[in-house]
Amino acid sequence: MGVLRVLAALVAATVLLAGSVCAAPSEYQVKAVFLFNFSRFVEWPPSAFASSDAPFVIGVFGYDPFGNQLDETTRGETVNGRPLLIRRVHNVSDAADCQILFVHASEATRLDGILAVLNHRSTLTVSDLDDAARHGVMIALATQEKRIRLRVNVDSARAAHLTISSKLLRSAQIVDAPVSGD
């Protein structure tokens, strides 16, 4: 099995060589950065927090596509002095404690239930279901030709007393659709 021995050596050598390696960022690496950026580009009313020292919570509802990328992106970060926490949310009733709630496309069947419970509470809803904004989700992270597209339902955000910065809106597609909970 001389060939196998040569291969083993080859594999070992490549593992040793490959110190710093380049790769295109993964879809969810970029989406994690978007979620973090939303904490900078959206204003929450004081009523969105249980207390003045309550943390700022980004929730991931159900299926978590990020692995540890969202945790890595937000490690050590604060939002207006509040520590930023990532929380995995499994019940609709826990969703309202989040300032940002991400719902993966595969949880589409649970979307209407989540929006009904949140009903104008100041939780920024985000989903990567393509037409999420039309269903009342505030920001959809759609993927088109390998690039991420922002679709914003401004009326939904306004109904929840959230103010989205023009810096974000400028680069987003505004979606006219019914406000969630109506």
């Binding site: 690496q29 950065v33 299926y63 692995g67 496309a105 690039r147």
Partner: protein
């Protein structure tokens, strides 16, 4: 695609517009939702195909751990899932962009006539197990869905040329944007050298194949349209003669045209209407000379919802063939027009939090056995957010084909084998249980156990053989695969299947061959594969795939291990230079057929240059 180093930290420094401009590596929406489906599904990604160095569709299919693939000569393959792998394999449904590519002749696939521009394939979904409730008869042991990218995603020019000791070829694709969509044109040419027997005698299976095609996708308001077509021609070398019977080269040709219209209604419901025509022509003096014209219409209506997601539809298929006899077979009657019609409905029911059921049934009518009912029930329980436990019960059938009812062997009387006028559908009642864990950035694995309870499998009487349905039994097994990324630049994929076949002749059968029949089953007990992909510094990629396939019983083929290696270098942004070696472990090896006459495959090493702009 240039790969730019992007750490999470540097991504955070980018503006919104810069982030929006980044190309991300991504799984498509549909394949994500498929990953949630309660079935044994493996998705071969475009990147997997590219990095494997495969130059043909059957070789790319080796990436799916749930398929059994045995090469029969330079371009012929036996491909199946869950057993019954033979050159007239007829229990697997294969679709290329929604077009069924099986021949009505034997309900199987002439793999030497199927070519796709592999660079433009978005993904290949490989479902092992029955898909009959959605896809109909013949989707008994599995479904292969080859899906090419929409023209809007291939708007550049791509050129590739390759040459090696066994094969040579080149591909060109040109894509252009027009106001509401895009169109691409492609051309592909391949040459394959002949194979040899173990004793060195050459087999006359040199093969040349050329194919051209196009695909256009465009949108208008809520409507999306696709129009695509292909035309191809291929031939072997002259094969000498059997006595006075001349065996000139095998020639194949064909063309197809497909249109698809999709509309999203204000209610969120979706309508899809698809129609295609497909002409195929094969001239093989040894076996047969079938020509077929197929017209196929398919309608689907999808209704979204929270509690129920309903998909229903209907289809119609018409095939007219003309089969001139070869040395080995003749079909009586030589020409036949066959029709199939179907309706189906599927409901995905959200029973309660984390628990979903999928109920579906297809009713399909064929000219041989009339109406066939193909029901399926599936239950999926999301044990945790990243893990799914699922089970299914289904009934699937393999409906009769010309090869069962109308065939005569040999091509001139007296006949030793005669098609069975009473041949019925082969029936499988299938039970499956699966568990799947998906942690996208680290470990993913899937394990499926299955049992196919078969009845009325194809058998024969004593000579002169009349084809009938007197074999039954059970085929059971396990399919498992996993992928793991131990380091950011290194990923591993492993797959294994284990198969146990327990078939027997039914009482009253006079079949002289029995169940170890080369046209019924000749399957390995096990196979496994291990794939390793490295992203190396300076835009080098190294891929290794080691596979082992267990021995075949009758005709006996020894177990074999083989290794494929590919090293690629991406330079100047869009020029890729690669060298690939396939079947490197042995000077030659065999995968299929009788030891006296079968093909042996040599080590195949080739270089490829690919340039996209």
């Amino acid at each position: 695609m240039s790969a730019v180093a992007q750490s999470t930290g540097s991504l955070k420094q980018l503006s919104v517009d810069q982030l929006l401009d980044i190309q991300v590596t991504s799984v498509s929406k549909r394949s994500e939702s498929l990953a949630d489906a309660p079935a044994s599904i493996f998705v071969i990604s475009a990147e997997d195909i590219h990095r494997s160095g495969a130059t043909t569709l059957p070789e790319a299919l080796r990436l799916a751990p749930n398929l059994q693939i045995a090469r029969a000569d330079s371009v012929q393959y036996a491909i199946s899932a869950r057993g019954f792998n033979n050159a007239v394999g007829n229990k697997l449904l294969v679709l290329i962009d929604g077009r069924t590519v099986y021949t009505p002749l034997f309900s199987g696939v002439f793999w030497d006539q199927q070519e796709v521009m592999l660079e433009d394939v978005e993904r290949i979904e490989v479902i092992s197990g029955p898909g009959a409730a959605l896809w109909g008869a013949n989707a008994v042991n599995g479904v292969i869905n080859v899906i090419t990218r929409p023209a809007t995603e291939t708007t550049g020019t791509l050129m590739a040329a390759r040459a090696g000791n066994n094969e040579r070829g080149g591909d060109v694709r040109v894509g252009r944007v027009f106001n509401s969509g895009a169109v691409r044109f492609y051309g592909k040419y391949s040459q394959f050298d002949n194979t040899s027997r173990a004793d060195g005698t050459p087999i006359p299976d040199t093969w040349n194949r050329g194919q051209v095609g196009f695909r256009a996708d465009w949108k208008a308001d809520a409507d999306a349209f696709t129009l695509q077509g292909d035309a191809y021609k291929g031939d072997s070398e002259d094969r000498g003669s059997i006595g006075a019977f001349e065996l000139p080269e095998v020639t194949v040709s064909g063309m197809n045209l497909l249109g698809r219209w999709q509309r999203e209604l204000a209610s969120g419901s979706q309508i899809q209407l698809q129609a295609y025509v497909d002409h195929t022509d094969r001239d093989d003096a040894l076996f047969y000379k079938p020509k077929a014209d197929i017209v196929d219409l398919d309608f689907q209506y999808a209704i979204p919802g929270v509690k129920h997601r309903v998909l229903w539809g209907a289809g119609y298929r018409y095939a007219k063939d003309n089969i001139d006899p070869g040395f080995a077979t003749v079909f009586v009657p030589s020409s036949r027009a066959l029709q199939w019609g179907n309706v189906f409905v599927q409901d995905e029911i959200h029973l309660r939090d984390r628990l979903d059921a999928t109920l579906g049934v297809k009713a399909e009518r064929n000219d041989y056995t009339g109406m066939e009912y193909l029901p399926s029930a599936r239950l999926a329980w999301k044990v945790a957010d990243d893990s799914l436990l699922w089970g299914s019960l289904s009934r699937a059938v393999r409906a009769p084909a010309r090869y069962d009812r109308d065939v005569r062997f040999p091509g001139t009387p007296p006949y030793y084998v005669v098609g069975g006028p009473n041949f019925q559908s082969e029936v499988a009642n299938v039970v499956e249980l699966g568990y799947r864990v998906q942690r996208p950035s680290s470990l993913t694995y899937s394990v499926t156990a299955f049992a196919h309870l078969w009845d009325k499998l194809r058998s024969g009487t004593a000579i002169p053989v009349t084809i009938e349905n007197k074999i039954d039994g059970t085929v059971a097994g396990i399919e498992a695969w996993t992928s793991y990324r131990p380091l950011r630049f290194w990923s591993l994929t492993a797959g294994v299947t284990y198969l146990h076949e327990d078939l027997k002749l039914k009482a009253g059968s006079t079949d002289p061959v029995g169940v170890d029949n080369a046209t019924l089953r000749n399957d390995p007990d096990y196979q496994w594969s291990l794939r390793s992909s490295f992203d190396l510094p300076r835009d080098f990629q190294l891929d290794l795939e080691l596979r082992r396939v267990g021995s075949l019983p009758q005709p006996a083929v020894p177990a074999y291990s083989e290794l494929d290696v590919r090293l690629a270098w991406l330079t100047l942004g869009n020029l890729e230079i690669s060298i690939a070696g396939r079947n490197l472990l042995h000077a030659t090896h065999a995968e299929y057929g009788d030891a006296q006459v079968r093909s042996e495959y040599e080590r195949n090493v080739y270089g490829q240059v690919r340039w996209g702009f």
